[in-house]
Symmetry: C2
Subunit: 204 residues, 2 copies
């Protein structure tokens, strides 16, 4: 205890690195830019993180963890499907409002390196897997609570509606013609929009 500013420099580095990596990806990021943003020089940067890879790994694992943790919300059991979706939408959209470039970053790096996917993070708890989700959907269908639907398509629908506007914001904003302010206002409205939309999709 007492070491509040445990390592102020390391924190400054991590903040700067997160910003640069999220914005430009591993390939586009420059150690020089990270050092500049952190207010230090390259030598010191390498003192804290010996390689660009190790610094990247520190940033990626955090981002990947956030993405997966929220994805897993829909894998929770013991509550109705509509409620799962509602929670997931609210939590995810709040995260994204504060980290708009997070999903694009994680998806891109995962695309370049699919093996890296965190089997540690997901399926850590055997109750929180996609197949468990699929089973619970089938159960709700048989019980007549929701209309028949392929759980994989349902999952894609939910995730697409939430993530794409952020991942593809460059495209959407260009086509629709939106300022920053307008875009973020739309995203706030979108929380309610998606919830209504998806609940009608499954409601029988």
């Amino acid at each position: 205890m007492g070491n509040d500013a445990e390592n102020n420099t390391e924190q400054k580095i991590l903040v700067a690195a997160e910003h640069v990596f999220h914005e430009k990806g591993f390939d586009g990021a420059r150690m020089q830019e990270i050092a500049d943003k952190a207010g230090i020089n390259k030598g010191l940067l390498h003192y804290y993180f010996k390689t660009k890879d190790s610094l990247f790994e520190a940033i990626f694992s955090v981002g990947n963890g956030k993405m997966m943790a929220h994805l897993e919300t829909i894998f929770l059991l013991e509550i109705p499907l509509g409620e799962k979706i509602g929670r997931m939408v609210d939590q995810y959209m709040d995260l994204l409002a504060e980290n708009p470039s997070l999903p694009r970053f994680v998806i891109n790096e995962l695309s370049k390196n699919p093996e890296r996917f965190a089997s540690k993070i997901i399926s850590r708890n055997t109750l929180r897997t996609f197949s468990a989700f699929a089973d619970s959907v089938q159960k709700e269908i048989k019980a007549g609570n929701i209309r028949p639907i392929d759980p994989r398509q349902l999952f894609m629908n939910v995730v697409s509606m939430i993530l794409f506007p952020y991942v593809g914001s460059s495209l959407i904003r260009a086509v629709v013609g939106l300022t920053d302010k307008e875009f973020y206002a739309l995203m706030q409205e979108r929380k309610a929009h998606i919830k209504i939309f998806l609940n009608e999709l499954i409601k029988e």
Copy 2:
């Protein structure tokens, strides 16, 4: 006429470059790899395309053009909204089945360089703009053909449902656990799935 193999080497370069740029993006692409894939050496590559930028521009403009052309399907006038969406889904999904990494590529490069957006390609024809689409949606709402909905949210929904599974395939495939074959089979089923889904969304 007669010059069928007009410039065989240039074609080989363009094919190779498209593959590499789409897969790795501008920052991750290497001129060496493009040359190797085209079966030539770097010197010759630079003879055809003086700079990496100029080669990239050739690839990007084609990809961007494809993306925009299909986006504009939904901006067509004079046919009912449901039909517009149906056409867009079919055409876009067919394009994506053959170019799975195209949307991620275009979106990423557009994100790094939003100004580059092809105002030349879209809004070339004044009848094909988002605002014209928005107007036609409002008209259909007033006529009682479809239920009230913000045209911008509707547009995002359609585009998200179509594009995200491809853009975020790395994430989806990891979470759901899909082989190549399973993924592409799902994408084929998805065409019908999306059309039903979106038609119910707007149907009153």
